[in-house]
């Protein structure tokens, strides 16, 4: 907290303020004012604390103002990856974005993530996203009999793919990708991150199967290095770098 904010309120009290949420809404069954499937903006004015996140504000709306507001959330601590949404035109996790960091003086725009079909309000159909992930075969592929004990690797070998193990599959990167918006054929950044995690794992033997899939028309070559994914990732994964490493492996034939 800043010193000025603490100075203006009694000790121990968290400063509170009013914020306006402008939420992009859609009800597939329609409401009294809006037709079925019609998309529209709705504003809510609520009282919030400086410690509140966007998710807390959404809860306040849903629990106290309009129970029909639909959004996903589970752990509320930035781990489950359920509540990715477009907040002030940037993909973020609602549970990791503090209201006070968003200029509460202005309305805060909240939209569903782009490029995936909206089911209701902030809920999108994640199936195309998961289908891409399944295509890169996100499981350990080995040959020979399973060892009696765990498969060992050196800390350096583990370090090689550490960054891409952080993915929580929130779809913030994929739904920030301009190529993914235009073309449903593109795997999207997340699937490439998921593949990277196995391709550069010393214990895995399926790297060339995965690279072959990513060499396809819909694969890594559709990436135009816009860096939107790296900027969007709430886990700080260097997504564009991971994609470039996959491209390099395909170009050099070395992993």
């Amino acid at each position: 907290m800043t010193a000025t904010a603490e100075a203006s309120t009694p000790a121990g009290e968290v400063p509170s303020f009013e914020v306006t949420l402008r939420i992009r809404r859609m009800n597939p069954e329609g409401t009294s004012e809006h037709g079925a499937g019609e998309e529209y903006w709705e504003e809510f004015r609520i009282q919030a604390h400086a410690t509140d996140r966007v998710l807390d504000a959404l809860h306040k709306v849903k629990w106290d103002v309009d129970g029909s507001l639909a959004f996903r959330r589970s752990c509320a601590h930035g781990v489950c990856g359920s509540d990715a949404m477009r907040i002030n035109a940037r993909n973020r996790l609602a549970c990791k974005t503090l209201l006070k960091d968003l200029n509460p003086a202005k309305p805060i725009l909240i939209e569903p993530i782009k490029g995936l079909p909206v089911e209701k309000d902030l809920i999108v159909d994640m199936e195309p996203f998961f289908a891409s992930y399944r295509e890169i075969m996100p499981f350990l592929m080995t040959s020979g009999p399973a060892p009696e004990r765990e498969r060992l690797q050196t800390p350096a070998e583990r370090e090689r793919y550490d960054d891409t193990t952080k993915c929580i599959m929130c779809a913030a990167c994929t739904s920030a990708c301009p190529v993914f918006w235009t073309d449903g054929q593109f795997f999207g950044p997340q699937a490439i991150v998921g593949a990277h995690r196995f391709i550069f794992d010393s214990r895995d033997e399926g790297q060339w199967d995965r690279l072959e899939i990513l060499n396809d028309k819909a694969g890594v070559w559709k990436c135009r290095t816009a860096f939107n994914c790296t900027e969007a990732c709430p886990r700080g994964i260097e997504v564009t770098k991971a994609i470039s490493e996959v491209k390099k492996a395909l170009n050099t034939g070395e992993i």
Binding site: F139, Q185, N215, D216, K217, G219, K247
Partner: protein, 152 residues
């Protein structure tokens, strides 16, 4: 004793128009390499034509004719023409793939693009390689200096 569940291979991937092996990889490689070469060619072109000598005012028929009388300028301009058109054409192809979702639309746009690229390359090559710097019956004051000796 419990055994680990066996994961069978996932179902056959559904793909529309699977590319020939590595085609998209070569396309990507071409874009990087031709882009770098084009930067060099274009900046050389701009500096030689617009900065060196008398600048923009020096460009007239004689200036162009004088350049194309040398084989290396012909090669440089031909390379710039071909690379720029294939580079740009390939970029347009990728955009068409992105935005044209219907197969027929995509095919039509791809054909139009291909015809345009080939036509401009052919016409441009003809100009560069069959260019006559000293056309007969032309005003000698407009021709490059060396034409006097050729005509004489």
């Amino acid at each position: 004793m419990m055994t680990a569940p066996q994961l069978s291979a996932p179902h056959e991937r559904i793909r529309t128009g699977r590319m020939r092996h590595n085609a998209e990889r070569w396309s990507w490689m071409f874009m990087r390499i031709s882009g770098a070469i084009l930067m060099l060619l274009i900046f050389t072109h701009l500096i030689v034509n617009l900065v060196l000598g008398e600048g923009v005012s020096q460009i007239d028929f004689a200036f162009v004719a004088g350049k194309w009388a040398a084989w290396y300028w012909q090669v440089a301009d031909f390379l710039m023409l071909v690379l720029a058109l294939i580079h740009g054409g390939n970029g347009m192809r990728l955009l068409i793939n992105d935005y044209a979702h219907r197969t027929t639309t995509r095919k039509v746009l791809h054909s139009v693009l291909g015809v345009a690229v080939v036509a401009v390359i052919v016409l441009g090559s003809l100009v560069i390689w069959t260019f006559d710097p000293c056309p007969v019956d032309a005003d000698p004051s407009l021709l490059p200096g060396f034409c006097a000796s050729v005509a004489g």
